[in-house]
């Protein structure tokens, strides 16, 4: 069994000979290694060449023996974690804890060489219920026939309702669209060779057209203002890299999509400042609250670079109206900051209101457009998360110039672009797809919300998205985050349904849950309701 051991950097303690780490072979070599660790430092002490050297060796040796003693005491536990003398002990503790536990069998796993601080924080097991629930549900997925006792996944906002339409289109059109040339002659260089790393122009034109179509053709998008990325995840990270320095912050209304914490902060070093919205005004965004948050940040010496809104909202599912968008623009102008509008659910609407994009507002008014940037992608509205297509749409030429160059780190695959160019250009199919999807989402929403209502669970009035925002505050005890997480845990482990607790979305009020319903079939809804009922009635 591999022991984690304290790493010593030979260059910092010159009179200590380097002790090689035990080989990953087995416990016998580990024993020899331990003996070595005792003998060699002793030799160093005995052979010390002078008072000064002895003066530095002996305390070091004593300290080292002390550690060895501690280590021996803990050597029975596989997760032993001896304190390290080096400066970055917290990081080393992480390193040894995770690597000693994770891999005992395969070669070369435990080693003293360090990874970066950034990597250390990412390597920690993810504590958010959002990720825990996703993982558990994916390990034991419910299937009506093959695994009826599995976990039903209502924590992932994926739309499976209209994949049949896309399947049919692919079957009828794929071969021609992907590689076949105009004259039937196979020509691979159109997809094999280097393409512009921010997306082929044909693809940008097709995506710009799709965005316009999906948002109701009330606004048009200029292909030259698009940068394509491998999903919306890198799109938002790239924008953060362009708009903010490490330590700067974005104001984000709560509740918000749990993924933002990872996507926007991990590598950029940017902070997110929550701006709390409440059920009393239907979780509407208030400029007063934004202003307060901005001023508090300033007092703390934290520089706010922008506001991030998601419209339609995730996890609520409401849409921002024109007045709100105008006031946001006024606020941003007053503070001279950016607005990032994540509009990835723009096409997944089912209410009576029409979606209004930031782009539409800017088209009609004389605002400073340089501060507005839109995020989009094909994962939700077109149900193709696997294909990895995200969009940064900006009116700021400097941002576009930087984002274009950064897109090389997350480019869209060329053969995938070819297929999508073909599909998105088939505007008749796209129109049919958009309309059908909307109907199906609406049907599911109505059935699902009604089912929850039978249990006395109300949802906020929403008109978009692939989920509903359910008020289960009456079912949690005590009325706080702990009570909420207990209910979440029971629903996951006993009820076998994964829904996302509001605390994972930074909601200030306990008891709210996001329930995604577009991964289910209509027949599954009564099953979900029954399972919730079973849990809440115990």
């Amino acid at each position: 069994m591999n022991h984690s051991r304290s790493r010593r950097n030979p260059t910092r303690e010159p009179d200590f000979p380097t002790v090689k780490p035990p080989s990953p072979g087995g416990s016998s070599s580990g024993g020899a290694g331990a003996a070595m660790r005792l003998i060699v430092p002793l030799q160093g002490v005995v052979q010390g060449r002078g008072g000064l050297i002895l003066g530095s060796i002996i305390p070091g040796a004593l300290y080292y023996f002390f550690q060895l003693y501690l280590k021996r005491c803990r050597s029975a536990k596989p997760n032993s974690n001896p304190p390290s003398p080096s400066s970055s002990s917290a990081q080393l503790a992480d390193l040894s804890r995770s690597s000693s536990r994770s891999n005992l069998s395969s070669r070369g796993s435990v080693g003293p060489v360090r990874v970066s601080a950034r990597a250390n924080s990412i390597a920690k097991p993810n504590a958010s219920p959002y990720y825990i629930g996703l993982e558990m549900a994916s390990e034991d997925p419910y299937d009506r026939f093959d695994n009826p006792d599995g976990i039903m996944q209502l924590g992932l906002s994926e739309n499976r309702l209209s994949l049949d339409l896309i399947e049919t289109w692919i079957l009828e059109n794929l071969e021609r669209s992907m590689i076949g040339g105009a004259d039937g002659h196979l020509n691979i260089s159109g997809i094999a060779t280097y393409q512009p790393l921010d997306g082929m122009m044909e693809m940008k034109i097709a995506v710009a057209g799709f965005m316009s179509q999906v948002m109701g053709t009330t606004v048009s998008f200029d292909p030259s203002r698009l940068v394509l990325t491998s999903g919306a995840t890198p799109a938002i990270e790239t924008l953060c890299f362009c708009l903010a320095d490490q330590g700067n912050a974005f104001l984000v209304p709560t509740p918000y999509y749990p993924g933002f914490d990872r996507d926007m902060k991990w590598r950029t070093g940017v902070e997110l400042i929550p701006v709390h919205c409440r059920s009393s005004d239907n979780f509407a965004l208030s400029v007063t609250a934004l202003d307060q948050a901005f001023n508090q940040a300033r007092k703390r010496g934290q520089k706010v670079r922008g506001i991030l809104i998601s419209n339609p909202s995730n996890p609520i599912g409401n849409m921002l109206n024109k007045e709100t968008l105008y006031s946001l623009l006024d606020f941003a102008r007053e503070k001279n900051i950016h607005i990032i509008s994540d509009e990835i659910f723009a096409g997944s609407t089912y209410g009576s209101e029409e979606f209004v994009s930031m782009a539409e507002i800017l088209e009609s008014e004389d605002f400073d457009k340089n501060r507005v940037h839109i995020i989009y992608g094909l994962s939700k509205d077109l149900s193709l998360p696997g294909f990895r297509v995200g969009v940064i749409y900006s009116f700021n030429t400097s941002v576009l110039a930087a984002a274009k160059k950064l897109a090389r780190f997350s480019s869209v695959s060329a053969p995938t672009q070819r297929i999508l160019i073909s599909m998105l250009s088939d505007t008749r199919f796209i129109q049919r797809y958009i309309e059908t999807t909307r109907e199906r989402i609406k049907k599911m929403y109505v059935a699902f919300a009604a089912g929850l209502k039978q249990l006395g669970i109300e949802c906020t009035k929403s008109s978009a998205g692939l989920y509903c925002w359910a008020d289960m505050s009456g079912l949690i005890r005590p009325y706080n985050e702990k009570g909420e997480l207990e209910l979440w845990d029971k629903l996951l482990k006993i009820g076998k349904i994964n829904i996302t607790p509001g605390s994972a979305c930074h909601c200030i009020e306990p008891g709210w849950f996001r329930c995604c319903f577009t991964m289910l079939a209509e027949e599954d809804i009564p099953v979900v309701i029954k399972r919730i009922q079973r849990v809440v009635e115990t």
């Binding site: 030979p10 380097t18 080989s23 990953p24 995770s98 994770s102 891999n103 395969s106 070669r107 070369g108 080693g111 003293p112 060489v113 990874v115 970066s116 950034r118 990597a119 390597a123 499976r160 896309i166 692919i170 079957l171 794929l174 071969e175 196979l186 691979i188 997809i191 094999a192 060779t193 280097y194 491998s230 999903g231 890198p234 890299f241 362009c242 708009l243 490490q246 990872r262 670079r305 102008r333 001279n336 004389d366 340089n370 501060r371 696997g386 294909f387 990895r388 400097s398 941002v399 930087a402 950064l406 780190f409 997350s410 480019s411 869209v412 695959s413 060329a414 053969p415 995938t416 297929i419």
Partner: protein, 445 residues
Amino acid sequence: MAIETDQQPPVGLSRVAVSETHGEDSPYFAGWKAYDENPYDESKNPSGVIQMGLAENQVSFDLLEEFLKQHSEASIWGNKISGFRENALFQDYHGLQSFRKAMASFMEQIRGGRAKFDPDRVVLTAGATAANELLTFILADPGDALLVPTPYYPGFDRDLRWRTGVKIVPIHCDSSNNFQVTPQALEAAYNNAEAMNIKVRGVLITNPSNPLGTTIQRSVLEEILDFVTRKNIHLVSDEIYSGSVFSSSEFVSIAEVLEARNNKGSERVHIVYSLSKDLGLPGFRVGTIYSYNDKVVTTARRMSSFTLISSQTQHLLASMLSDKEFTQNYIETNRERLRKRYGMIIQGLRVAGIECLQGNAGLFCWMNLSPLLETPTREGELALWNSILHEVKLNISPGSSCHCSEPGWFRVCFANMSEQTLEVALDRIHQFMKRRCDKEKLGHV
């Protein structure tokens, strides 16, 4: 776009956005612009600029096309399309298992079975550019450094440094020993960094080397591995050209060196690979990190969320790379054709009076034009580069953009064009050399 008030400064951007670290103002990229403005075309623009600055492999497209024609079911998810749904929804950062297996076995095949690769250690990224950046994020903190032997791929300045905030400290190599890395050069670079108070986190080598076009000898790999072990730092081996070695026996991967040591101390080693060069598919955006370190594998996998490969592409390539007959034939044929091309360009240059470094791999040769320099300086080199670009209409890469310590060396790519185009390029070089020779003779008379 109206700005609301005159007094208000424009809304600010980040340091990353305004920095020059993307390097796109260097000659390496300026040559590309000249090409874009006046690209050579055999029939439509025979006097245009021939692009010899792009390391792209076009010599084996026919093999790929043949495969795709005969295996169209690879692109339509099986004859019954039932796999499409799963594929369209698949965004797991572990990547398609079938694809990882296929990548691991392809990497084994390229190394003639001399090293084994575990599919569970393969982390997928959208291209090697992303893989190198991702590894840098993981192995080093802002302000730390990676040691990189010169001359090196100009893109590293951007890929390793731009967003990461990590520095590159060069390991100087020169022509006295064919630009090989020496233990003295390694120590010097490390001490250089220490003197500047910069913490070295690893060494990054490219094997086979870009721009040299040579494989690193086994003894040198051993020395480098010993060095990083002594210093307790990482080793990244970018083996993106491993399938482009003209003779299989001449390539030794770091994986082989590790296996000979029973993988002792391997947790500091990470290999980068991609299908952009060997398989000629840069447009597909397929890269991988292969790490012997569990923590790096876990972290890299999570971080790969920012750079996932399209599931459709993974599926298509899984099918192609699992076809052992196809891959074996492809690897051998590709190797042979590149060898032939290399022979052609070396011969053509020799006839024109130009010598190159003896190469055995890659899509380019490392040409020595130092006798032609007006002054043996970087300026002299750039002046020569400029006249080659504008008079001879060839875009080649000056050694200074690769941080070469000796002026006068140029990287010339030969695999991104047809044989006819290469002949035209060689002819132009021949004429250019002839003109210079004649001018000199006149000068002496």
